[in-house]
Symmetry: C2
Subunit: 411 residues, 2 copies
């Protein structure tokens, strides 16, 4: 008896799923315990997908999928919040298991949908929603099941990592690097969500739930993208032995949770500093395992499709054993978020021209900001501090109008 | 109802398991679905473990564990082939689920024990047997469930990676680096299995089963360690832009399986070249995911214990749902091993002094070995070839008595 599934959406990821099921049938049957067949796909315009019309039913009506009792798994690949949320809810309520790659949705309505899946005793899996090519969510929920994670650092947006790599290594300007990323398909026509850090923020919300068991929202933390990052700072960081990366961080600081998405300086010999172009990476520090790094493609049709298929296979395997309904992550804990006093890092500070060294030194001294290095370059000033609190940094920003950029320095 | 488990052996890993269960009780209960309690531990000398005698029963008699109906999971941490094999077999036959970290055992008697577990409808998991701190086996069996792997390259022995890093970066001699590794606990008093590549070979046997579904034995492939590696070659490789690492490789070459453990040259900008000291790493190339790299500690008490606990939790979760008995990896496929003609790599060749350039050139030309670079240094000769077959290399070794070393150059 084959397991019938339905796809909502038949774009690049959907086509990738189709291809994997066609090419790797035998392995899929071995690993899932059943043959997996795509019975129906929801599309806007069936005429656009005539090439696959022989293999599966195309429909423009979600009800056809919802009311088909043969369909056991619904794979949501439409993206966006609505109607994805409604379709998934309806599918769960109809007793169907769900796989989604939709990070915006899971970061926004995750708790609600997870609770619904539990009530309906259905599986809801979304490994592909974070770093498609890195099996991070499943790893966090299984291999870290007995371990306590203290920090997760992620390069979790391929577009920005591509742009930063090109700026840093080839000396391209931000605009030129973005244009190149778009031409190569690493950036969308509208890259806003990527370059402002919002995409990475969605992912860190989901990662925090798995790594710390703690539910946070996209408005609970600071998000800074790379759209205001200057060539000047990339070059200065390099001269000091650092690489600038857009890092999503979630860290247990004395029992409170610190979350942020921002450009950070990494020492050039750190493994994370070597993660280039569209590649993603996650560095996890934990009590038992120490430091582990996972790296791979963050997106792309086949990587995301493969991640979706891992979920489909896990749900199929559960279906065969009649044990659907266990949450994707069982870990749950309430953690307070850190306040500005709790968070301490060394910072790279970049000041605009006009200030005298005397005035700046006086202010830094007044705020008790210890300085490791101070450099004047082309009438600008760059300061590397020792560890300071975010509170100190915020005070500095208020009192010094020339502070243009401040980036955490990670170890 | 708590799940009772027993430990066979209470050394560093066993103590690590004890500590994790004590410290992370709450998370373990959430993720496994049950409280997990160590009821008994098999030890040689109970007097040595008086500090834990209050928490669990110590016994010198395996029968006490075997005949205890309350014990649902037996965790084998004794190492060695016998009596580990017999104890595991007895436990499975008594309907107990088994976790083991024993790579020698799984590489040698894996198929037999896996078949026994299936017959007895018990779980047999061994994620900790390969690269303790990297959850690679579970990842291969779940996240690669629909993907076809084409190559796996592993730095899977911490001792040798530590020695090579110290030789390469600090210029230490092999003996000095080994001594340092021993002092720091990264090498055992008798490092034979590590430095001869045997330890890595056991791991690549297990990895091949998970990555390619194919059963191979330790005698089916070439194993070369680092015990004959010369400082000279490490330095020459560096001058040419390469780093030498001990790599376990398993690769699908036109449908046949190539397996080898040997020192290899990696380009210095490759991520794998940056994996230093005792750290392990696995680079996996696959159809859908492209290239992914997983890195973390390869061994150590707490990393291995954490990996063991992932298995204990998975088996507990299965036990709660009454679904024990599914193999750890379902993927199974018969692949022929490659012959010497099938395998082609560029090679780094190192020749001893006596040969004239003329004689060498003539021989290389006769064997149709294309040369990319040839260097004479201190009356020695180093050659970088283009891609050549292992057959050509073997012919060269037979016909040229001065060939002292040959290492694959990986991309």
């Amino acid at each position: 008896m084959a397991i019938k599934i339905a796809l909502l959406g038949l774009g690049t990821v959907g086509s990738g799923v189709l291809k994997i099921i066609k090419n790797n049938q035998k392995k899929i049957k071995q690993t899932s315990g059943e043959e997996i067949v795509i019975k129906k796909a929801l599309v806007r315009n069936p005429n656009k997908h005539k090439n696959v019309a022989k293999e599966l039913d195309l429909t423009t009506d979600f009800m056809e999928i919802l009311q088909d009792p043969e369909i056991k798994i619904v794979v949501e690949l439409m993206g966006g919040l609505h109607p994805a949320k409604e379709y998934i809810s309806d599918a769960l309520n109809a007793g169907k298991n769900v796989v989604t790659a939709n990070k915006d949705l899971m970061a926004t309505y995750g708790s609600e949908l997870i609770a619904l899946a539990a009530k309906d005793r259905c599986d809801l899996m979304y490994d592909a929603s974070v770093a498609g090519g890195i099996p991070i969510l499943r790893t966090l929920s299984t291999s870290y099941a007995s371990d306590m994670i203290s920090e997760i650092q992620g390069i979790i947006n391929g577009t920005t990592n591509y742009i930063l790599s090109q700026m840093g290594e080839k000396g391209l300007s931000y605009d030129a690097a973005l244009k190149q990323a778009q031409e190569l398909g690493f950036a969308e026509a509208d890259p806003t969500n990527d370059v402002t850090g919002k995409d990475a923020a969605y992912k860190i919300v989901i990662l925090s739930k798995f790594a710390f068991g703690t539910k946070i929202g996209i408005n609970d933390f600071t998000i800074e993208g790379i759209n205001n990052l200057q060539d000047f700072d990339i070059k200065q960081a390099q001269k000091m032995g650092y690489v600038i990366k857009l890092i999503g961080i979630a860290k247990n600081i004395a029992g409170k949770l610190f979350v942020e998405v921002a450009p950070c300086l990494l020492p050039e010999n750190a493994i994370m500093a070597h993660i280039k172009n569209e590649i993603n990476a996650l560095q996890i520090k934990s009590q038992s395992l120490g430091t582990a790094v996972f790296t791979g493609p963050g997106a792309g049709s086949s990587a995301t499709a493969s991640s979706v298929m891992s979920d489909v296979i896990a749900e199929t395997s559960n279906y065969v054993k009649q044990i659907n309904g266990k949450p994707f992550s069982n870990f749950s804990r309430i953690m307070k978020l850190t306040s500005s006093e709790d968070v301490k890092y060394p910072y790279y500070l970049s000041f605009d021209a006009e200030e005298t060294l005397f005035t700046l030194s006086k202010l830094l001294s007044k705020l008790e900001i210890p300085v490791r290095e101070i450099k004047r370059i082309n009438q600008k000033t760059v300061v590397m501090t020792e560890e300071i609190s975010r509170q100190q940094l915020q005070d500095l920003a208020i009192q010094d109008q020339y502070l243009r950029a401040s980036y955490k320095v990670l170890k």
